[in-house]
Structures are given as structure tokens and as C-alpha cells.
């Protein structure tokens, strides 16, 4: 636990503090010549950084592209302005403000808090709508709903003139009462909060779940993660940060109008986020710095008067830079400069390496934890598939399938291609609805439950074509599921992440991106990831496909030890009869959607019907 909190809390916090220190020092260096416009540029950049980090919390972790965050910023900005502008000035600007808002007189701090609270409340309803519409990475519905929010806020701001004074003009603080920020302390404090929130959110359970769902929505759900809740939480936190940043922006500009939080700013902030790398906090900050100084540089360039270059050094150059940056990065490096590289990860890595040089790491012997002993106290759970039938259109994929498996045995499921094995697994894990029949685990009826709940009840699967969380590291893949188990399966003793990693031989590769694994290791990671859920049953879909004989045989051991470690039963689809006979206590044979035989592996290999089904002879059972 100690090393965990170091990795997930202490080092990221330390890294965040270093990052903000670097930003502030860099800013001071840049403004050292006393140029007030440089000073203003740095202030604006830091405020933009807060807003971009806010967006990063949602877009980065969930992978859902949102155009609506600046809309939330607009709500926050107006709320802040209406609350914070002195009543005397409001009487000039919006004397007819509804609800007596013209008389409200709050300090900027209070106004900011009101703005954040109100916006988060709005965000709550938006998040309900988003989850109803099935927002997930790449979903068009999320883009539409968030875009709608942006436009609606803009339209309301333009039309509700009693409150907002309408388009083109908006509300403004008096330029004399020192409305602009006194010193930058507030910005520093808020920026530090934003960095910490964004960085630590990535490490929280919610953040991890959201990232898992970002990488593979379906796999996450079958691992017991319900993305809707994580997305909701991410949205609320991110909107809170964006709102605080937007209030600061309004305070710094001393005025607000509908254009301030509309399309241009949305695209600007998104460009900043994308250029640096949307999945990382360091990336987001680097993007803000690149775009800020890039456009400032092009602006200065455009002001230069060089006759031979006047065809390019002219108005519009900054927009060319922004559009070009967007286009160029999308084409050449869509994941951004830094992808999801984090400064503190790198730091931790360095520290580790130093330590290693000083004192060689003691070779830890993995004690194979056996949880089975603890489990035998109660009777092993039984999974019962009872008369399941599935039709796809006119095609009957499963016909009245009955299968029983006990959590202390390993059950094989074999049959030729197209026999319905994977479909059966899909039905058990809730991905496919059965037309009739029931599935019971112990006394629980699982039929009709969503996949995430089935996984939490103790059935976790692997996939024939891997569905790893490909941009997360090997370790993070396991950790995400392990966290789920910690939350929902705490009644069981949970396997240790380190032990799992060592067991499947991935200890060396733990910081590698899952996408970089080779075939065999990817299969083993899938196995370890499923085991991390501490399930009652591991459902394995072709765990040895694509492996050579040696690897397949090693897999027998690995599956056994895994099942042993977490104390679960196994249901396993495979083609490799050596594997199946080597590992299974009981085998069911499926052909054309029905169970044609069951028995011990020895019985099965002797059964002519099985051979017929496999190799397809004239004696095909029909």
C-alpha cells in the first residue's frame, strides 16, 4: 500500500508542484523586462491552462469529445459577472435584471463559488442526458449534445438582454474599481488546484475506470466497470475546474459577452489540448504553452513590415497558424506532442533507476498465494446455463443449451467454428440477450443483467480478438480491474497485482503500453486482467489461439495457477485438444448451436460424433 500511495499520490503531487513552479518561473523570466503586455500574455496563458486542464479531465480520461465545456464556461462567466459587478454599475447596464439580480453584491470569491456551484448543477443534468445517449469514445451523440449546449448558451446570452445585455456588448466591470486581478496569487492557487485535480484524478479509481472505458468500452463493461458513472463524475469535476477558470477569465478581461465563450474559444482550447496530447496533464500544459507562444510569435511576425514577405506577413496569419497546427497535428501526430507522457512518471522512473544502481533490488520470491483454502469453507459456486436459445434473424445460433459448471473445476467448451461457443459466452456475460432460458450463478439469476453487473457478480471473460486497454500500461490494465474488484468483490480475498504480473511473466513489461505486447504476452495479460477481478468463474475465449505448442502447454499451468490464486472456476473455449485434455475436468461439445456431447476429455476424444463434428464427415449429426 505504501508504494502504491507513493506512486499514485506523492509523486504526482510532487510532479505537479514542479510543473507549476516551472510555469511560474518561465513566466517570470519571460516578463522580466517589465513589458506589461508580456505580463498580460502570461496571465492569460495561465488562465487558459486552467480551462484546458478542466477540459482534459473529461476529454482525456473518457475519450468523449466535448464541444460543450466552453458553454459551461459561458454559464459560469455570466453568473460570475452578474454576481460580482457592483450594483451601481449593474443599474446602468442591466437595470431590469430578473430576480433582483441587479442588487446582488458579492465579492469575487463568493461570486466564483456561486458560478461553480450553479454550473456544476447544470452539468449534472447534462451528464444524465449524455449517459442516456450512450456517450462514449468516438460517439457522435456526445458531440451533438455538447455542441447543442454551446449554441444554446450562446443564443440565450444573446437574447436574454435583461440579464446579459445581449450580443456584441455584454457586461463589464468598472475599469476604475480595480476589477482586474490584483497580483496573480489567485491564478497560481487555482492553477495548482487544477493541475493537482487533473493529475490526481487520473490516478483515482474513477479516473482509472474512465480511462479503461475510453480504451475499450465493451471490455470495461465486461470487467465490471460501468462507464456512465465515471463519465458523470469526470464531467462534474472537469466542469467545476472549467467554471473556476472561466470566472477568472471574465475577471481578468473585466467584461463578458456571448462571443467570449463560443466557437473560437472552443476551438482554441481544443487545439491546445490536442497539440500537447489530450490524454496527459503534462501534455495539456505543453499544448497551452506551444499554442500561446506560437500564436504570439505569429502575431508579432504579422506585424513586421518586410516588403518582400508582405504576402504572408499580414492579418490572418495567426489563424493560419492555429488552423495549420490543428491540421498538421491531426495528420502527423494525432495523439499530440507528448501523447500521455507524464512528467512524474518519468521522474519516478528516474528515481527507481537511481535506487537500482545503489542497491540491487532483492529478487522477491513470489509466494503463490492460494486462496482456495479460504474458500473451501463454503461450497463452491455453481454456474448453470439452463435451456438457452438465441436467434439471430432467422439463424438459430443456440438451441436449448444446458451447461453446469462448478467453481472448483475447469470446464472446456469445444466445437467447430460457428458452433456457437462464443455466442454462449456472450450470452453468459450479458453481451447478447437470449431468447429463452436462464443463467444462474449460485442462487442469483443473471439473465437480463447488464454486463458490468454480471462481471461484479463474479463472471469475467477474455476475448478471442484481444480487447486490452491498449494505451494503458500492462500494469494499469490489471490495476483498473483490480480496483473494480476492490470495490465490488471485497468479500473475497483479492489477488495481489504484483503477484499476478509475476505469475504471467509480465513483470518485466509492466510499464510497457499494452498495445506493444506480442501475441502470447497479450493473451497472458488478458488472463491476468480477468483474474484480477477475483471472479467466481474465469471465462476464457481461445486462450491459446495463435500460440505455439510450447506456449500452449505453458498456458495450462498458467490458467491453473491463476484459477488457484483467485479461487475461481474456469470455463474455457479452445480448439487445441491437447490443451483441453490437459486442463479440463469436464468438456462440453457444441455443434450447430447445441450440445452434442459432454464428459471427461478422455470420453470426448473417443466419441465419434465429436470427431465427425470437427472434421465434418458424412456422419455429421444433424
Amino acid at each position: 500500500m505504501g508504494t502504491d500511495s507513493v506512486r499514485h499520490f506523492v509523486i504526482p503531487t510532487f510532479g505537479s508542484v514542479l510543473l507549476i513552479t516551472a510555469l511560474i518561473l518561465g513566466g517570470m523570466l519571460y516578463t522580466a523586462n517589465g513589458d506589461s503586455s508580456r505580463d498580460s500574455l502570461v496571465t492569460q496563458m495561465l488562465i487558459n491552462a486552467i480551462i484546458v486542464l478542466g477540459i482534459q479531465i473529461y476529454v482525456g480520461n473518457t475519450g468523449v469529445l466535448s464541444f460543450g465545456h466552453i458553454g459551461f464556461g459561458g454559464i459560469a462567466g455570466y453568473t460570475f459577472a452578474v454576481c460580482a459587478i457592483a450594483p451601481g454599475r449593474k443599474m446602468l447596464q442591466i437595470p431590469d435584471a430578473p430576480f433582483g439580480l441587479a442588487e446582488v453584491d458579492l465579492t469575487p470569491l463568493q461570486s466564483g463559488m456561486v458560478a461553480v456551484a450553479l454550473t456544476v448543477a447544470v452539468a449534472f443534468f447534462v451528464s444524465l442526458a449524455l449517459s442516456r445517449a450512450g456517450a462514449r469514445s468516438g460517439a457522435v451523440s456526445a458531440v451533438v449534445i455538447t455542441l447543442a449546449l454551446l449554441f444554446v448558451v450562446h443564443e440565450v446570452a444573446r437574447n436574454w438582454t435583461d440579464l446579459t445585455r445581449g450580443g456584441k456588448i455584454g457586461l463589464s466591470f468598472s475599469p476604475f474599481d480595480g476589477a482586474t486581478l490584483q497580483g496573480k496569487n489567485w491564478i497560481y492557487v487555482l492553477l495548482l488546484c487544477a493541475i493537482l485535480l487533473a493529475r490526481l484524478f487520473k490516478e483515482t479509481r474513477i479516473g482509472r475506470f474512465a480511462q479503461a472505458a475510453r480504451e475499450d468500452d465493451l471490455a470495461a463493461r465486461t470487467m465490471g466497470i460501468n462507464p456512465a458513472i465515471q463519465q458523470m463524475a469526470a464531467l462534474l469535476i472537469s466542469v467545476a475546474v472549467v467554471s473556476a477558470g472561466s470566472a477568472l477569465r471574465v475577471f481578468e478581461l473585466g467584461s463578458i459577452n456571448p462571443r467570449l465563450f463560443f466557437f473560437d474559444y472552443t476551438l482554441l482550447t481544443l487545439t491546445m489540448l490536442i497539440v500537447g496530447g489530450r490524454n496527459g496533464v503534462t501534455g495539456a500544459l505543453v499544448g497551452v504553452v506551444i499554442i500561446t507562444f506560437g500564436s504570439e510569435f505569429t502575431r508579432k511576425l504579422a506585424e513586421m513590415e518586410i516588403d518582400s514577405l508582405s504576402w504572408i506577413l499580414r492579418e490572418g496569419l495567426t489563424d493560419i497558424f492555429l488552423g495549420g497546427a490543428m491540421l498538421g497535428f491531426m495528420i502527423l501526430r494525432p495523439a499530440g506532442v507528448l501523447r500521455d507522457w507524464e512528467f512524474d512518471h518519468w521522474l519516478l522512473d528516474r528515481l527507481r533507476r537511481c535506487k537500482k544502481n545503489k542497491a540491487p533490488e532483492q529478487q522477491s520470491d513470489v509466494k503463490k498465494q492460494s486462496l482456495k483454502a479460504a474458500k473451501t469453507v463454503c461450497a463452491p459456486a455453481v454456474l448453470k446455463v439452463d435451456g438457452v436459445t438465441v436467434n439471430f434473424g432467422g439463424f438459430r445460433a443456440l438451441k436449448n443449451v444446458n451447461i453446469t459448471a462448478s467453481a472448483d473445476e475447469i470446464v472446456g467448451l469445444i466445437g467447430p467454428n460457428g458452433a456457437g461457443k462464443t455466442t454462449l459466452l456472450n450470452v453468459i456475460t450479458g453481451l447478447v440477450k437470449s431468447d429463452s432460458g436462464r443463467i444462474h450463478l449460485a442462487e442469483m439469476n443473471l439473465s437480463g443483467m447488464p454486463p458490468s453487473q454480471i462481471a461484479r457478480s463474479g463472471l469475467v471473460r477474455t476475448f478471442q480478438n484481444f480487447r486490452l486497454f491498449s494505451n494503458l500500461s500492462v500494469r494499469e490494465n490489471i490495476e483498473a480491474v483490480h480496483l473494480m474488484a476492490g470495490q465490488y468483490r471485497s468479500a473475497r480475498s483479492l489477488p495481489d497485482v504484483d503477484a499476478l504480473l509475476r505469475q504471467v511473466g509480465l513483470w518485466e513489461f509492466q510499464i510497457l503500453r499494452a498495445a506493444a505486447l506480442d501475441y502470447g504476452n497479450a493473451r497472458r495479460l488478458e488472463l491476468a486482467r480477468a483474474a484480477a477481478a477475483a471472479p467466481d468463474f474465469l471465462l476464457l475465449d481461445e486462450p491459446t489461439s495463435g500460440m505455439d505448442d510450447k506456449e500452449s502447454m505453458a498456458m495450462i499451468d498458467q490458467v491453473r495457477t491463476m484459477a488457484d490464486m483467485v479461487g475461481s472456476g474456469v470455463i474455457c473455449i479452445d480448439h487445441d485438444l491437447n490443451f483441453i485434455t490437459g486442463i479440463c475436468d469436464l468438456v462440453y461439445v457444441l455443434d450447430q448451436g447445441r450440445v452434442i456431447a459432454s464428459g471427461t476429455p478422455v470420453e470426448i476424444s473417443a466419441n465419434p460424433a465429436v470427431k465427425a463434428a470437427y472434421l465434418g464427415t458424412a456422419t455429421n449429426v444433424s
Binding site: A133, G138, V152, N159, L267, E315, D319, G323, M330, P334
Partner: protein
């Protein structure tokens, strides 16, 4: 009753243009899975083309042809310059690419033409009307509706009965299978952009006849309407896009006519709320396109 009929006619006139724009967006979405937010730039380019031609004394008939051609060519050029490099990339990447194109084209016009609106003259018949009882039919509306119907029929014929159309639809349904049949991906995508540009060109002709002005952001509004209509229709579905266009036109007209004056300004906002609600309860749009995910 008469009022309602009048509004339906007005709505169909509006919706026709939206339908053409939406169809162009849906065609590209079909083959590339790209929501083309740069579709409006075709209108912008058309607008400047008409400005230059009309102020140099060319006739509207000629300008009409030129607009359609220029829009189609621009569409192909944009594909060649930008979208061809992000083919097959995640939706996020393609979406942001289209915004990048939108940004760049706009900036180029600010840089090299002018930030100002440019005006050009409309054709003479544009405001003529026929009266039938209490209903006044604008020739323009009739022309729009008729042209749109003819264009849609031609497009339908093209898609249903020519090898190009069949290839396009095949690519939209299963890109890899289409390639296995010998359909050239370059050619079919370029074709889709060309067709999309033609449709945008026809829409641009009518849009510009009425607006009579060119500016760097002349394409923003038509783009938004087109994207919204395509979204209402369900993006992947071509007939859905056309339907979406007409629905959007009708809803707008009815809202403008029926809302109390104080909140008529919110028409666009209300349309957006309606679309958001549609997506909350029917995320696939009005017409659902099946995409099966294999596990």
C-alpha cells in the same frame, strides 16, 4: 389552415437547401465516417466565385454552372490536401481535421481577399410570386423545391443505377469488401467528395441567389444547417439526411411563425435543444443505420 399550408410551402423551400447540404455531408460520412465541418467552405468559395463573376458582368446562368463546378472541384481539392491523410483515423481525428480546414480556408480569405462582405446582384425573378387564393407562392421557393427534387432524383438514379453509385454505396456499407470487389478506394472517396461538392454547389446557387453576399464566414451558417439536418437524419443514411433537411426547414419556419415575438430570436437555440433531445432519446437519429460489432 391557409396559414399552415403557407408555412409548409415556406418550410419546404428552406428545407430543400438543407436537404442538399445534408445529403452531401451524409455521402461523405458514409464512405469515410467523417462529419465534415468544412462543408460550408464550399459555399464560401462559391460565394466569392459568384461575386467575381457577377461583378465582371457574367450572367447568372453562367454563374450557376461555375458555382456548381467550383464547389465540386474545391471539395475534391480539400480531400486531396487534408482528408486523404487521415483516412481510417479515429472519428476524433477526422472531426478536428475538418475544423482545421474550416479555420484555414476562412483565414485565407481574410488574408488574401477581405474581411468585408462583398455584395453582388441577385437575379431579377428572385422575389416574384404567384398568388393562389390566400397563398403566395414564391417562384424562388418553387424553383428551389423543383430543382432539389430533380437533383435528388438524379442523385438517386446515380446511386442506384450507375456503377459509380453502386460502388459508392458498397464502399459506404463495407469498405474492405468493396475493395475486394475491385473498387478503388481513392477513386470512390474522390467521387464521394465530388458528388458532395456538386450537391453543395446546387445548394450554394440558391443560397447565394438569396443572400447576395460573400464573406469569409459566408459558409458557416449553411454548414451548421447541413450538419444538423444530417444529424437529425442519422448521418449514415442518405434518405435520412434528405428527410432531416426537410424536417429542419419545417421546424424552423413553424417556430418563427408560431413563437411569441419576444423569444423568436431563440429559434436556433430551440432547434438545438430539440436536436439534443432527439439524440438523448434516439442516439441514432430519425433513421437508424445498423452497425454490427463483432466480439
Amino acid at each position: 389552415m391557409m396559414e399552415l399550408i403557407q408555412q409548409i410551402v415556406d418550410g419546404l423551400g428552406r428545407g430543400s437547401i438543407y436537404a442538399l447540404l445534408a445529403l452531401g455531408i451524409a455521402v461523405i460520412f458514409g464512405v469515410m465516417h467523417l462529419v465534415n465541418f468544412a462543408h460550408g467552405e464550399l459555399i464560401t468559395v462559391s460565394a466569392y466565385t459568384s461575386y467575381w463573376l457577377l461583378t465582371s458582368g457574367f450572367d447568372w446562368w453562367l454563374v450557376t454552372l461555375a458555382i456548381i463546378l467550383v464547389a465540386a472541384l474545391t471539395s475534391v481539392v480539400i480531400e486531396f490536401v487534408a482528408f486523404r491523410w487521415v483516412r481510417g483515423a479515429p472519428d476524433f481525428t477526422m472531426l478536428m481535421t475538418s475544423f482545421g480546414v474550416h479555420f484555414l480556408v476562412q483565414a485565407l480569405f481574410v488574408m488574401y481577399v477581405s474581411a468585408n462582405f462583398r455584395q453582388f446582384s441577385r437575379p431579377d425573378w428572385i422575389f416574384d410570386t404567384w398568388k393562389i387564393g390566400a397563398i403566395s407562392l414564391e417562384i424562388y421557393d418553387l424553383a428551389v423545391i423543383a430543382t432539389t427534387l430533380i437533383t435528388l432524383l438524379c442523385t438517386y438514379w446515380l446511386l442506384q443505377h450507375t456503377m459509380f453509385g453502386i460502388s459508392l454505396r458498397a464502399a459506404a456499407e463495407d469498405f474492405d469488401a468493396a475493395r475486394l470487389m475491385g473498387i478503388r478506394s481513392n477513386r470512390v472517396i474522390r467521387g464521394a467528395f465530388f458528388l458532395s461538392g456538386l450537391l453543395a454547389g446546387v445548394a450554394a446557387v440558391f443560397w447565394l441567389m438569396r443572400s447576395g453576399q460573400a464573406g469569409p464566414i459566408a459558409g458557416l451558417n449553411p454548414m451548421l444547417k447541413g450538419v444538423l439536418a444530417a444529424l437529425i437524419g442519422g448521418l449514415g443514411s442518405l434518405s435520412g439526411a434528405v428527410l432531416g433537411g426537410f424536417v429542419l426547414g419545417l421546424v424552423e419556419v413553424l417556430l418563427i411563425a408560431r413563437l411569441p415575438t419576444e423569444i423568436v430570436g431563440l429559434t436556433d437555440g430551440i432547434v438545438f435543444v430539440l436536436i439534443a433531445l432527439l439524440f438523448v432519446f434516439r442516439p441514432q437519429g430519425l433513421i437508424t443505420v445498423q452497425h454490427v460489432e463483432r466480439v
